[in-house]
Structure formats: C-alpha cells, structure tokens
Amino acid sequence: MSVHHGRRKFLWEAAALAGVVLAPGITLYDLAQGRAPEAAAPGTVRWGLLVDMNRCATGCDACVTACDKENGLSGGKAVTDAQWIRKIDRRDARGLVRSLPMMCQHCAEPPCVDVCPTGASFKRADGIVLVDKHTCIGCRYCVMACPYGARSFVHEPVTNQKPDVPRGKGCVESCTLCVHRIDRDRIPACVEACATEGHNALLFGDLNDPRSEISQRIAAVTATQVRADLNLDTAVRYQGL
C-alpha cells in the first residue's frame, strides 16, 4: 500500500512538473506560458508572428508607434534613426496597393548570426534572434547580411532608456519580439497595439505547437515567407502577400 502511495505521489509530482498532463498531448497549461523567472527560455517553443495583410490598414502605424514607445526609440525616420518596424506599401502586378509591417523575421537560419565575428548576434532557444550588446563591436556585418534591412545601428548617444530595453551608441539592434514582455508572459507591444486599434492583423504564438492559434491559421490559409527562396525559415509569416 505504502509502495503504491509513494509511486502515485511520484507520478503526481512528475505530472505537476510536466505541466499537468491530462492525457498524452493535452496539457492544462503550456510550459511555455507561465514560465518561472528562474527557468530558461525553452527550446521546444518557437515564437512567431502571422501578419494578415487583408486586415493591415494602409496609413495605420499603430504597431510602429507602440514599438517606439515600448522600446524607447525616438520615432525618427532618418537613415541614422533606429527603426525596428517599418510600415511598407507593396504594389502588386495589377496595381493593388497593400500595406504591411516589415521587421526582423526571426529566421531559423539567420544570416546575421552567420556573419557576426564576435557571437553577439545569436538565436535564443525559443527562436528569437537577438543582439548581445555586451559583445557587439558595432561592425555592422549583420546590417549588410540581413535581406530584410531589419537591423539598425545606433549612431548617437542614447539617454533615458527603458529599464527593460538597454540601448547605446555603437551597437546594432533590431526587433526583439519584445523579449522582455515574452519572458513575463505578455505579447509583443505591436500585436497588442494592432488589437487595440481593432485591426487584429498581427497574431503572435508558438509555431512549434500544432494546437496554437497561429499554427492552425498557418495550416488553414496561405501564409507566405518574404524571400522564401533564401530558405531562412522565417518566424514572421504574411497572409495575403
């Protein structure tokens, strides 16, 4: 009896550790969600974005301003200003103009990581491509290597940084998918702002989880990667491109 009790207790503890398994493949809550502060970003997750261009409004830049505010960017559009998201108008062969946000595509095979001479450019276990600014020497190889023009170099001294988003002169930076928010179980600022505007053109989620909303939408609709020919396996997908 006591042996059985001990085994049952062990099984329950194991289940609690594994995220309360109800049946194989069904969990009460995802391990990726509700991650403890002392737990590392899990390699089982791959964070991604789906941009629905049918919903993305021309002239709306709520995602851009939300990004600037969240990360303490100046919001300037000069060539020397850091821009983590840009709104772009794309004209197709028939002359139809569509608007889309363009930012770091968080590639599975990131060229910026390949060319970085110091290892400052890196991909986190959960697929987010980041710059370790402690190691960045500002050589800007990654700026050249990125096919999406997603990286910015900080040319001027920065003051009044956000405590969660350290930024400084001489480093390269780009969209972090709001990594400081993801680590606290919040969605990126651009996604939140798009929903607040009522457009809901941005969907954030785990590409590795077949039950996540983003995976199910990508399975159901034609979700395209920009420059899919480069085989970079981007985490930002576009619907209606």
């Binding site: 502060p37 002392e38 590392a40 606290r184």
Partner: protein
C-alpha cells in the same frame, strides 16, 4: 661626572624620547585618518529597503561578478530573476533627491570615480528605477 650618573642621565633621555615619540604617534593617528585626500571619499547614501541581496562586504568585492553572470543568463537564456539584476540594484540605490545611481553623489558613480574604475553599465542601461522590479516584488 661618574659613570653611574652618566648612565642614569642617558637612560632618562632615552625614556623621554620614547615617551615623546609614543605621544606624538597617538596624537597624530586620528589626524592622519581625517587628513584631506586628493580624491574626495565616496558619499555613500543609505539605500531604501531592509538589507542588500548579499552581505555588504561581499557586495563591495563581488557585485561585478554577480552582474556579469546575471547579464549572460538574462540575455541568452531569458532568465529574469530580480535578486542579482542591475535593475534591482538601481531600484534600492537610486539617490533620494536625484532618483539616479549616476551623476554627482550617485551611489554607483561616487564609488567608481573614487576607485578610478570606468562605469560602463549606464551607457546603455537605465540609471533610474523602472516599474518591472517593483511589479515583480509585489
């Protein structure tokens, strides 16, 4: 003068010299400690909060090691524990008047300028407390 009286006299002079030296040393010692140095001593303002995350003596020697390890864990692995984070230091040690750890009399800046050690953290990091640590502690 006899040999005996000369000896006594010498002994008295020697004793007087020793007494004078000891007295001078005793008087001069506190003066030396209080003497103005070329570099003003760091003004360390008392921090808010009950106690530091580690012993004060340990922190004086090793705070940079803690910050170095924490920074790599946070940037590369996404581990955002607050105990040894720079944001946590800033939250308690920001000056009551200035609200910062840098600048004149700032907790970090005053000691680093006294020791002549470059303080690079705040080229990029915020030197004022943010909301995240306060929220996490709540």
């Amino acid at each position: 003068m006899t040999d005996g009286s000369r000896d006594r006299c010498l002994r008295q002079i020697a004793l007087f010299a020793i007494a004078l030296f000891v007295a001078a040393a005793t008087l001069a010692a506190p003066e030396a400690a209080r003497a103005p140095t070329r570099v003003p001593l760091p003004a360390i303002e008392a921090a808010t909060g009950e106690r530091c995350v580690e012993d004060t003596a340990f922190m004086r020697r090793n705070h940079m090691e803690l910050l170095l390890h924490q920074r790599d864990r946070t940037v590369h692995e996404g581990i955002r524990t607050i105990r040894h984070s720079l944001a946590n230091c800033v939250t308690c040690h920001a000056g009551k008047k200035t609200g910062r750890v840098t600048g004149d009399g700032g907790f970090c800046a005053s000691c680093h300028s006294y020791a002549g050690v470059a303080l690079d953290c705040f080229e990029c990091h915020a030197d004022k407390p943010g909301a995240a640590v306060a929220e996490a502690k709540r």
